[in-house]
């Protein structure tokens, strides 16, 4: 008898895609996969971030550790990160972490010679590798001079502000790392998913309400999920995904003495993801890298000796994990 395959074929449908933002649907899989994907995106997709700082001169108001910490948090363009080596298992430099295969060197030299306060920003960092540079957030569509809020015209992230005569001079080494080790290596600003809601309105019960009651019930949802058709005066679902599982409408229906007015269930196999990146890698790339890493992790489980040994325990599942 052919062993039954448990494999499902998850589908991804992209709804919105920008450089640093993605919204997509993930269907035909369950919460474990969805959450694994979320966790990998936040904590295990590698990026490059400054990890080692040698300070030569620092007469600024911030102390050395503070500046080093701020440098570490600057997102660097990390498209190369997947192919780069971790400095701990780099053969070229014996884990020294200062060779071209596993590190990128930055220099920062800033002296303030004017009476005005000078901002030292991430754009003042000089990289030894043109593919790894601080992320440029300056939006070409917005005129920098008209933007009064950001203040600095150069764009970039302020590292420290200098007064006349103050100086910062340092060498920084950026390395590949993952968000699990330190939050500075996390490529994701936010990764979240929600279960797709399934909303069934009990039409018969709904018709027993007056228009006033219907309005009151529709208003009870803090988010615009329901609305009343101006023509037929029927309650309809306008935006099911706006529902936050707050149960407000259900409580309201019960308070009105009409339990079962609406039935809302979370679909257990479809998820709506929202991904926002720090700019280190593109949102689309983040998803692809995350899937790649998830695969690698599963491969590690599949090929590990423990798995073979644990075959007796897992039985069918073990065979499944090894591609049976």
């Amino acid at each position: 008898m052919e062993p039954q395959s448990y494999a499902r074929m998850p589908r991804v449908k992209i709804r919105e895609l920008r450089d640093d933002y993605a919204r997509f649907e993930l269907r035909d899989t369950d919460a474990s996969i969805a959450n694994a994907l979320r966790r990998v995106m936040i904590a295990e997709v590698p990026t490059i971030a400054i990890d080692l700082v040698e300070i030569e001169v620092n007469s600024s108001v911030l102390n050395d550790e503070f500046i080093a910490h701020r440098l570490g948090l600057i997102p660097l363009t990390s498209d190369r990160a997947m192919s780069m080596r971790f400095s701990r298992d780099c053969d070229a430099c014996d884990g020294d972490g200062q060779c071209e295969f596993c590190s990128v060197e930055f220099h920062l030299m800033a002296v303030c010679r004017n009476d005005e306060t000078q901002d030292v920003t991430s754009s003042d960092l000089i990289s030894s590798d043109h593919t790894v540079v601080p992320v440029d957030f300056s939006d070409a569509t917005i005129d920098a001079s008209s933007d009064g809020i950001s203040g600095n015209k150069k764009g970039g992230i302020t590292i420290v502000k200098l007064r006349k005569g103050q100086e910062v001079k340092l060498r920084a080494i950026a390395r590949k790392g993952i968000g699990k080790d330190h939050a500075k290596w996390s490529p994701a600003a936010t990764v979240t998913f929600m279960y797709e809601p399934e909303i069934h309105i009990n039409e018969d019960l709904m018709e027993s309400l007056t228009l006033e009651e219907k309005k009151e019930w529709v208003e009870s949802s803090p988010t615009p999920v329901f609305d009343i058709d101006p023509v037929t005066q029927q309650v309809m679902v306008v935006d099911a995904e706006a529902y936050t599982y707050d149960d407000e409408v259900i409580k309201k229906a019960e308070a009105m003495g009409k339990p079962g007015l609406v039935e809302i269930n979370a679909k257990q196999d479809s998820f709506i993801f929202t991904v926002e990146t720090t700019g280190a890698i593109k949102a689309s790339q983040l998803l692809l890298n995350a899937i790649e890493i998830l695969k690698q992790k599963l491969d590690a489980v599949r090929t590990s000796l423990d798995t073979v040994e644990a075959d007796d325990q897992f039985g069918e599942l073990g065979a499944h994990m090894r591609g049976g």
Binding site: N58, N63, F193, Y195, P222, T244
Partner: protein, 610 residues
């Protein structure tokens, strides 16, 4: 006898009251007139073109039985305490009539609380002044608690104590200061707080911090410490400055030569570990070099070295400021502004934290809901809801206590529903959030919906200066007390942790006799004493040195120890000598008793129960 002088009767109370200006008598006023005069002076004080100083203190002490000596005491001197109150005895023609009053006059004045009532005053003593706001009855620290009128009062008291222990951005000029010890918070901020038991790591006022938030800089801080080295004060006798044989210089033959600079002082930015030298002093008289070593258990950075160049010739005094990074670790103490302190029990990874499906937010900090029912700090919940609404709308929320008590002047804000919670709930509702600040969260570990709604919102948290790195204490062996041979106390000296009576009781209750014996005896002042079983004395034993006799060597074994011969000095024999294990303090007790002419005898027996 007829006096040579005509009778001079000073006019005095009760007819005439003396008037003093800054402590000097300037005249007198009939007591029937004085009230009018006082009222007039007060009117002049608040009048817009100031004729008299507006901080003039009009201390009118009225006639009374057994009270303070009556009179009118006027003070104009500078630097007196004053505070503003509203003068309501004057006709309010648009102006607020704010009068500055001092502590002396205020006890004789009638000042009412602006809550619309009369404070129980009789109509014969109408209030002439009114406080600006009901909160002036609170101190500055007490005023920092939002909506403290919604809290149980002891919690507000706790908060007032705790506010003084917070770390803060205390000075803009830290670079130029030389404080003995200064706690500094790098980035003061307010985290998002969740209540709800997510793991068991938030039991009993413990709290979980988000590891990623900490890594991004939350609650980072430093301790600045300054060491002052004054060569003129060193070496006991104070010589005239400039004549000391000591100077700051590095030793030429020092293995730590590279760590310090040639002038014997550390480099700025240098890391100094415990017991490493941070300063080296050369004594030209003795031709010796002395190094000062860093005490403590944690490495520090040299933040600043300031030299005192009062005498230009040679340098005698330096201030070295050290900086100790103190980022949050397990065991550090935090508190909200409602007397809700707690200790960080875990730095939890971001991915394991629960998250909101709509916004994707993860909490920075998790506390246990059991912190609320018994303590009744409702204001903390209000703060959370208000801060959530405020941050959604991008505005600050006024959390002044006793706002409801303020007299409604023009009845303008009556249209609102009145209840504070309703105002706050509406703010959240407008932005599509739950009315009561609840949210549905998903487990960060499993990705499934958590079965309860969770109260989440921003609450201002303070970092308190009590940190584990200043408190942790461990010891295996170490220094012991000279007299009792027990471990010494004190963290600084590497002493032991006290195993007190209550700890003893708990071990007894568990029947853990061996452990008890280990703690109280073996690891403490274990001692084998020689006791004479004939006379029972512990103190009359005398060692007799054996003559050195070649001990027969047994092949492969270490040379056997020559048995020590012990005799009892009183009995003049070594027959009854027995070795008995006992705490050393027992021997000490025996000697102390002997000093008081009390003999302590031991009866030795082999039977256990004898």
């Amino acid at each position: 006898m007829i006096p040579s002088l005509p009778k001079l009767v000073l006019p005095g109370p009760p007819e005439i009251l003396t008037v003093l200006l800054d402590g000097c008598i300037v005249g007198g006023i009939p007591s029937s007139e004085v009230e009018k005069v006082v009222a007039h002076i007060r009117r002049l004080k608040v009048s817009s073109p100031a004729v008299i100083p507006d901080d003039l203190e009009v201390g009118y002490v009225p006639l009374s039985m057994g009270g303070a000596y009556p009179g009118l005491y006027l003070s104009t001197s500078p630097s007196r305490f004053v505070r503003p109150v509203r003068n309501i005895s004057l006709p309010s023609d648009g102006s607020e009539n704010i009068e500055l009053i001092g502590p002396f006059e205020q006890v004789f004045m009638e000042i009412k609380c602006p809550d619309g009532g009369d404070g129980g005053r009789k109509s014969s003593f109408p209030a002439t002044h009114e406080e600006i706001h009901p909160t002036v009855m609170l101190s500055v620290v007490a005023n920092l608690t939002p909506w403290s009128d919604h809290n149980q009062s002891p919690r507000n008291m706790y908060q007032c104590q705790m506010a003084k222990q917070t770390m803060a951005f205390s000075s803009q000029a830290i670079q130029h200061r030389a404080d003995q010890k200064l706690y500094h918070l790098q980035t003061p901020q307010s985290p998002i707080v969740r209540t709800g038991s997510y793991s068991k790591y938030d039991m009993e006022d413990a709290m979980i911090l988000n590891k990623s938030s900490v890594e991004r800089g939350m609650f980072h801080g430093q301790i600045y410490q300054t060491e002052t080295i004054d060569l003129t004060e060193m070496g006991g006798k104070s010589r005239k400055s400039g004549l000391t044989p000591r100077m700051f210089r590095r030793s030429n033959v020092n293995k730590f030569g590279s760590a310090l600079d040639a002038d014997g002082l550390p480099h700025v930015g240098q890391l100094i570990r415990p017991d490493e030298p941070y300063c080296s002093i050369y004594n030209s008289e003795r031709n010796s070099v002395q190094t000062l070593r860093k005490k403590g258990t944690e490495p520090v950075y040299v933040d600043y070295v300031a030299v005192d160049v009062k005498n230009k010739k040679d340098l005698q005094k330096v201030n070295i400021r050290f900086r100790q990074p103190r980022n949050p670790i397990i065991g550090d103490k935090f508190s909200s502004r409602h007397g809700q302190k707690g200790v960080c029990s875990q730095l939890w990874p971001d991915i394991d934290m629960p998250f909101s499906g709509t916004t994707g937010m993860r909490p920075d900090l998790i506390i246990n809901p059991h912190a609320f029912p018994s303590r009744m700090t409702i204001a903390m919940l209000l703060e959370s809801v208000a801060a959530k609404g405020g941050s959604l709308h991008g505005e600050f929320v006024d959390a002044t206590p006793f706002r409801g008590s303020v007299k409604k002047n023009n009845e303008e804000s009556e249209s609102k529903s009145g209840s504070l919670v309703d105002d706050l709930g509406d703010m959240l509702r407008k932005k599509g959030f739950n009315y009561h600040g609840l949210e549905v969260l998903y487990s960060g570990v499993y990705g499934t919906e958590l079965t309860c709604e969770i109260f989440i919102g921003p609450v201002y948290y303070q970092r308190l200066r009590h940190m584990v790195s200043d408190k942790y204490q461990v010891r295996s062996t170490g220094t012991t007390d000279q007299l009792t041979k027990q471990p010494i106390k004190g963290r600084k000296r590497g002493g032991g942790v006290r195993f007190g009576e209550m700890e003893r009781d708990s071990l007894l209750a568990h029947g853990a006799a061996y452990l008890l014996h280990d703690r109280l005896h073996t690891c403490s002042d274990y001692h084998i004493a020689d006791v004479c079983s004939i006379c029972g004395s512990l103190l009359t034993t005398v060692f007799i040195q054996q003559q050195k006799r070649p001990v027969r060597q047994i092949g492969g074994l270490p040379p056997g120890r020559a048995p020590k011969k012990v005799t009892c000095h009183a009995c003049q024999t070594s027959k009854g000598m027995e070795a008995v294990a006992m705490p050393y303090v027992f021997r000490y007790l025996a000697t102390e008793l002997a000093a008081m002419n009390i003999k302590l005898t031991l009866k030795l027996s082999n039977q256990a129960g004898a």
